[in-house]
């Protein structure tokens, strides 16, 4: 494999890094007044990267041809699927940011640049074929994310969120590194293919510890129980567009990374880690559901909802089959649409002075004062709860199908019973908006970007979305095949 070929394979990452650096310079020279132009340029960079990625997914690239730099990075269909989701989510988060920050005159030109660098990190994460690449991508993403969490300097909650995220994130990175070093020590290699080959014959106790620590570190990144404590605080404290970002793009990247590590590097020893995943899945579902019940702030509620959703995604991982991986990807795609829709709807709730309305009680009677937002949010909530005929049901369906096909019926039954607990708090949001008397808190108009995002995501999760499932299923199957072929 020559160098030019490798560079061709990493074209999306290349575009992102060059674009990010150029825009960083532009930001330094032109200052904050150019922030809107830089945001638009960033979306263009993302679109360019996506164009290069889409062809990879479309052609279903997999196997040795996709390995760049001697297997350090893999630009296969699996990475492409995750990247496209990440790019789309990031673009949405760029679109909703200016209006939010303008309220505090805090829209600065660094915001789009930081998003771009975070996206670059995620892009590297999902294409990683080596523990080193993995760690570089992960840290690149995290460093940008820490800054983004604290982006709203005038708000002490935002500072607190940034600091909390940093301290706990650093701890998790430490755990992950420790696991990686153990793995390296007992297998003698950092490449996924090498680790897989070394573990194929058996798993020593030391290597098992490595596996466990790697899983613990990654569980922190995807906010799976018992490493979820930071999520509600960070989600609540961070500026809402940043929360939207955290709940979507890095989640996709971390789950994809976890899939790559679990099914590829540790794929030969799936029995060793299956118990961990099952525990994390069920615990996330239950804790996510129970924790959400008492919440009064919609952002905290959505944070618990994302913990809950990660639980369902992990059900697909526990199956450890191509079908399970494909189901996880389908779930991720639908999850991204639902999450963006929900957060955009929350962003559109402003009181007469233009402040964000975040308390659930203040949303009372929203269906009478702002019926458009209320109906969209209600459909999104029913969808996250997994009630048919909304698309959220299909996401759960494929995951459970994978679990049942893998013979894990008990897991499926417990998880699905947990989804009923979860339904309770989604219903509560609907109840407040539809059944209660108007609190008359929410006022003010919204711009077209918010409406467009809200309507598009609502249409995607509406029953019309089922027409997409054939296409989505094929793409996810291709991506999953690429993952298992590499393994």
């Amino acid at each position: 494999m020559d160098f030019a070929q490798s560079l061709r394979l990493i074209a999306p990452e290349f575009i992102l890094s060059v674009g990010g650096l150029v825009l960083l310079l532009a930001a330094a020279w032109m200052g904050d007044k150019a922030s809107r132009a830089i945001s638009i340029a960033s979306v263009a960079v993302l679109a360019a990267a996506a164009a290069f990625t889409a062809s990879v997914l479309g052609s279903g690239a997999m196997g040795a041809d996709t390995q760049a730099f001697f297997g350090q990075m893999r630009a296969d269909a699996f990475a492409a699927f995750a990247k496209l989701l990440i790019f789309a989510a990031a673009a949405a988060c760029l679109m909703i940011a200016p209006r939010f920050f303008d309220r505090w005159k805090a829209m600065r030109a660094e915001y789009p640049v930081l998003i771009l660098f975070a996206v670059l990190g995620m892009s590297i994460m999902v294409s990683a074929g080596d523990l080193m690449t993995l760690y570089i991508g992960l840290e690149m993403n995290s460093l940008a994310a820490y800054v983004l969490a604290a982006f709203l300097r005038v708000d002490s909650r935002s500072e607190e969120a940034g600091l909390k995220y940093f301290v706990l994130g650093a701890l998790a990175s430490g755990i992950l590194l420790y696991g990686m070093s153990l793995t390296y020590g007992f297998t003698g290699t950092t490449s996924f293919a090498g680790i897989r080959a070394a573990l194929a014959s058996g798993l020593s106790t030391g290597a098992l510890f490595g596996v466990i620590f790697v899983f613990a570190g990654l569980a922190f990144k995807i906010a799976a129980v018992p490493f979820h404590m930071w999520t509600p605080d960070v989600y609540e404290g961070a500026p809402t567009p940043v929360t939207t970002f955290f709940a979507t793009a890095p989640k996709v990247a971390a789950v994809a990374l976890l899939m790559r590590v679990a099914l590829d590097a540790f794929g030969a020893q799936s029995d060793a880690w299956r118990q961990i995943v099952i525990f994390a899945a069920l615990a996330s579902i239950v804790v996510g559901a129970l924790g959400a019940i008492g919440q009064t702030n919609i952002k905290r509620l959505l944070a618990y909802s994302s913990i809950n959703n990660v639980g369902f995604i992990l059900v697909g991982l526990a199956a450890a089959t191509p079908g399970g991986a494909s189901a996880m990807l389908v779930y991720l795609a639908i999850y991204v649409a639902m999450t963006i829709g929900s957060f955009v709807a929350v962003l559109m709730l402003r009181d007469a002075e233009g402040n964000q309305v975040e308390l659930i009680d203040d949303m009372a009677g929203l269906s009478r004062t702002s019926p458009g937002i209320a109906w969209c949010l209600a459909l999104l909530m029913f969808s996250v709860a997994g009630i048919p005929p909304l698309l959220g049901f299909f996401a759960k369906l494929v995951v459970f199908q994978a679990a049942v096909d893998a013979g894990m019926i008990a897991l499926a039954v417990i998880a699905i019973a947990g989804s009923v607990i979860g339904a309770f708090y989604y219903l509560k949001v609907v109840k407040v908006m539809f059944f209660d008397d108007p609190a008359d808190k929410v006022k003010g108009a919204n711009d077209w970007a918010h409406w467009a995002l809200l309507i598009v995501s609502t249409l995607v999760i509406s029953p019309l979305g089922y027409l997409l499932t054939g296409w989505l299923g094929t793409l996810a199957d291709t991506a999953s095949a690429a993952l298992f072929l590499a393994a």
Partner: protein, 519 residues
């Protein structure tokens, strides 16, 4: 079948009208909803008229591979046809019942009802397991909103209870469905109905389906959501709930549990019988002491549904036919009874039985209709209730005399609470001046009640019209069940040949066709 996709059209009409209602003013929304439901009723009549009795088992079949993992497949047999007819028949009446009583957010209300109609038809017409589940579960959303937005004082508690109870019942069924799909390799319901699952797995699958259908039905002891939901829902919501939604449970048993898991059904029939016996007696006794009219009728629904379940698990043609007729009859009668409650509730805004009295004096027409439906609920010969209950009990008598004895007692209790209700409301002295001043039925209420009364009498006098379309399907189901049918304890004596001949001379032709009936 014919090129015209009539079932899809029946789904499309309420969908389009429902979406339109969101954007319409109250007056226009009412009109659109009424017209749309009437169009669906018309299509339903066309459906019935073109249904080829004795023809192919599945008719009006449509299929399109639109989704990943399952397909858009519709088609009906006689059983589904009748339940679809029941749905489209009740819907215009529901819209009329809400004509004046719903004043706020009329557009959304009408939209919710139209979506409800879409989902009900979808449930009965779906030929794909997952498509069925989607329609089956989706009904929760509009019903949750109907109860929660337009309901009574404790509507929020009732709406939560309704939603979470039914959801918890159904999700386990979903896992069972997924296992079945993996095992049989298809989501096609007609194929699955012929598939023989291993008996060991059947028990679990049966229990999973049972969890869902028993809640939906509802069977004792998971019936408690029903009285709450009924009492709080607006009149039309109660009508749809009692009239059609409860039938989904019975339909589930007849479409899934029995044909797909015959061995498990036979094995666990004792459980169904035990719960049904308790339900009939307990809920009848509870109904006797109610002060709230809607609650009383709600408990009577639970008792009637128990007659359906024993009929279904009788494993013979009479029981199955009886169960179907009880479902149809109960759909009409309980719907009509809720409408009767609604009529006087609209005038006095209370459901307290004691607040009324002597209504036969100032509302004679109303009292007549109310009496007819009361009698039909009791099962007076000549009304639809009699036909269904008689067939059901005759069927189960072949299996278990004890169950028959207990359930017949329940029917006597049923007569007690219904007559007691009627006596307190319609007869006696006019103790409340405001109740005595209420005007009799107006034209709109006549239009609501008269068609149901006609249907109830029709079904009671000439049930053949309703038995004929499903005879072949019931016979097929009976044949499928015969290998597992349990031994009965009634030991009916062999009919003497000369008697058989004499009966055959004046028997209706269908008695020959349906094997085993009338012995």
């Amino acid at each position: 079948m014919g090129a015209f996709p009539i079932l899809s059209t029946m789904l499309l009409v309420p969908l389009v009208a429902g979406l339109a209602c969101f954007f319409l003013q109250a007056k226009a929304a009412r009109m659109v909803a009424l017209v749309a439901t009437l169009i669906d009723l018309g299509l339903g009549v066309v459906l019935w008229a073109n249904y080829d009795i004795g023809g192919a088992q599945w008719q009006f079949v449509e299929r399109a591979e639109l989704f990943s993992g399952f397909s858009y497949a519709l088609g009906i047999d006689g059983i589904a046809l009748l339940l679809i007819m029941l749905s489209v028949f009740l819907m215009p009446i529901c819209i009329l019942a809400s004509w004046e009583s719903i004043e706020t957010r009329v557009g959304e209300y009408m939209a919710a009802f139209l979506f409800m109609e879409l989902l009900m038809i979808g449930v009965f017409a779906a030929q794909d397991l997952l498509l069925f589940y989607i329609f089956f579960e989706a009904g929760l959303i509009p019903m949750y909103l109907i109860i929660g937005i337009w309901g009574g004082k404790d509507r929020i508690y009732a709406s939560y209870k309704f939603f979470l109870y039914t959801l918890l019942g159904s999700v386990v069924m979903l896992v069972a469905m997924l296992w079945m799909i993996g095992e049989a390799g298809t989501t096609d319901i007609p194929t699955l109905m012929q598939y023989d699952f291993p008996p060991a797995a059947q028990t679990w699958l049966f229990l999973a389906f049972f969890a869902s259908f028993a809640v939906k039905m509802p069977m004792w002891p998971v019936h408690t959501w029903l009285p709450d939901a009924h009492v709080q829902a607006p009149t039309a919501g109660s009508v749809i709930l009692a009239g059609v939604l409860l039938k989904m449970g019975g339909y589930g048993f007849i479409r899934f549990s029995l044909p797909m898991f015959p061995e498990a059904s036979a094995q666990l029939a004792w459980l169904v019988f035990a719960l049904s016996m308790i339900a009939v007696i307990v809920t009848s006794l509870i109904a006797l002491v109610q002060h709230d009219m809607k609650k009383l009728i709600a408990y009577s629904s639970v008792a009637h549904m128990a007659i359906v379940t024993i009929g279904l698990f009788a494993f013979n043609v009479q029981g199955l036919e009886g169960a179907m007729i009880v479902m149809l009859s109960h759909g009409l009668v309980s719907g009509a009874l809720f409408l009767c409650v609604g009529v006087i509730y609209d005038r006095l805004h209370t459901r307290e039985i004691d607040r009324y009295g002597g209504l036969s004096i100032n509302m004679p027409n109303y009292a007549l209709f109310f009496m007819l439906f009361t009698m039909a609920s009791i099962g007076l010969p000549g009304t639809s209730g009699f036909v269904g209950e008689f067939l059901s009990l005759a069927g189960v008598y072949q299996i278990s005399t004890w169950v028959t004895l207990v359930c017949t007692t329940g029917i006597i209790l049923g007569a007690a609470y219904m007559l007691y209700l009627y006596w307190r409301v319609a007869f006696g002295v006019q103790k409340n001046a405001d109740a005595a001043a209420m005007p009799d039925l107006n034209a709109r209420e006549w239009v609501m009640l008269a068609p149901i009364a006609a249907a109830v009498l029709w079904m009671g006098v000439y049930p053949e019209s309703f038995l004929a379309p499903m005879r072949k399907d019931i016979a097929a189901l009976d044949a499928r069940l015969s290998r597992a049918a349990p031994e009965g304890d009634s030991k009916p004596a062999e009919a003497r040949p000369e008697q058989v001949r004499r009966n055959a001379a004046n028997a209706m032709p269908h008695h020959d066709a349906a094997d085993g009936e009338g012995h």
